[in-house]
């Protein structure tokens, strides 16, 4: 019994350690990179593209995979998740199956609508598991660009109605004459 005691405890500890390691091991590897063509100092209206690679590192297939992109504004005092409605038409992929060792490379294009500091992240979950895996985040700054120029809008907004008023006066004068 004295011989078997330490031996048994070693086996139990090894088994426990192995099960904890297996539980901690993620069955998915997720990478996110900016496209090489992305502008170095993006401005409102520019297009950015990000590439995600999802790899099944587990031993079983992942069915019903859903991956989606999220954008968070991190300007001080204005921290908020962004509604991607105007930013991107490609916000998620779904229903994909990934066998063990298989990878899925996806591009995420977006148009920069508003200036500020942002962080982008891709999240993935499968039909079977309850976990959500997230990619490393990418942070970028969007420079603000004045879109509507007051110097161009004001003369038109005031000038055209004035022109029509002038026409009305001229018309009235002619009718009286």
């Amino acid at each position: 019994m004295k011989i078997w005691g330490p031996f048994l405890s070693t086996i139990v500890v090894t088994a426990l350690f192995a099960s904890i390691t297996a539980a901690a091991q993620t069955p998915l590897a997720l990478e996110l990179r900016p496209d090489e063509q992305n502008p170095s100092t993006p401005t409102m209206g520019d297009h950015l593209r990000f590439w995600s690679t999802i790899t099944n590192t587990g031993a079983t297939p992942i069915e019903g995979l859903v991956a989606w992109i999220s954008l968070v504004e991190i300007d001080p005092g204005n921290e908020q998740p962004m509604d991607l409605e105007d930013w991107s038409a490609h916000k998620a992929i779904s229903g994909v199956s990934l066998g063990p060792g298989q990878s899925l490379r996806t591009d995420w294009p977006m148009r920069l609508i508003k200036g500020g500091d942002y962080r982008v992240v891709v999240s993935v979950t499968g039909r079977g598991g309850r976990r959500v895996f997230t990619s490393p985040t990418i942070q970028f700054h969007v420079r603000q660009k004045p879109v509507l120029k007051t110097t161009r809008v004001l003369p038109v907004a005031a000038g055209v109605p004035l022109l029509i008023i002038g026409l009305m006066v001229l018309n009235k004068t002619r009718q009286r004459g």
Binding site: V153, L154, P155, A157, G159, V160, I164
Partner: protein, 251 residues
């Protein structure tokens, strides 16, 4: 041919020579001015993308054009009847189609005046952005059949009912239903029902084309289906107008 031009000249004069037409034009330019001023004075709206602003303005111009077509179309036959000029007009040696074409060309010239009035506004809000030329081109290509279609529909109802109010009410109801995509965003129309409604609604077809070419810079080939839709709309409305105009209600 001379009769044609006489009717066209008379109908066209309504827009630029009559106080009523100029008042409409004044209201239209006031609407676009208010819209532009709102865009530059509001800090959030002023950050909207140029293409987005041009798209919104193109939709506003289209709905104003269709509304004008509804008003002029409703007045075309019923207005003549109410003024007591329909019977003399029908007794004159003017063909049914000549009268209808003359009224339609008058309506087209009114739409042309509206387009010319709207062009500086589109330039003011969209010159520093993308696809301003495409916006103007597609506003003519898709806006004209949609506007003319509403004019023909109003003429059909005007000739059939013989009352301006009934024909105007009928056309404006159809216009309100057709223009609902202006209020319901693309996200809400992303369902099967939304797609089905877009597939039969010429107004939505024109709006989706504006979205496609102004914001997404898509080519002409992607618009072929929608162009067919607005052409079918114009054809159907023309047929309805011709049938009603052949036997107008003058009693």
């Amino acid at each position: 041919m001379k009769t044609h031009w006489t009717i066209v000249k008379k109908e066209s004069a309504q827009m630029l020579r009559s106080q009523r037409g100029l008042l409409w034009l004044m209201a239209f330019s006031g609407l676009l001015s208010a819209f532009s001023l709102l865009l530059v004075s509001n800090t959030e709206l002023s950050l909207l993308d140029n293409a987005q602003v041009v798209y919104m303005m193109a939709g506003t111009i289209l709905v104003a054009g269709a509304l004008l077509a509804a008003i002029l179309g409703a007045d075309a036959y019923a207005g003549e009847k109410e003024r007591g000029t329909l019977v003399p007009l029908l007794c004159a040696p003017v063909g049914v189609n000549v009268l209808l074409t003359g009224k339609a060309l008058g309506l087209l010239s009114a739409w042309g005046v509206m387009f010319v009035t709207a062009t500086p506004y589109l330039w003011a809000v969209g010159a520093s952005g993308q696809n301003l030329g495409a916006a103007l081109f597609y506003l003519v290509l898709f806006g004209t059949p949609v506007v003319l279609g509403f004019g023909y529909l109003a003429m059909a109802l005007s000739a059939r009912t013989g009352t301006v109010l009934a024909s105007l009410l009928g056309t404006v109801t159809v216009l309100m239903l057709a223009a609902s995509p202006l209020l319901i965003g693309p996200g809400l129309r992303g369902t099967i029902i939304g797609h089905a409604m877009d597939a039969i609604n010429p107004f939505a077809g024109a709006l989706n084309t504006f979205d496609s070419v102004i914001i997404d810079s898509e080519p002409f080939t992607a618009q072929a289906g929608r162009l067919l839709l607005v052409a079918v709309w114009l054809g159907l409305c023309l047929l309805a107008a011709r049938r009603s105009a052949a036997h107008p209600n003058f009693r």
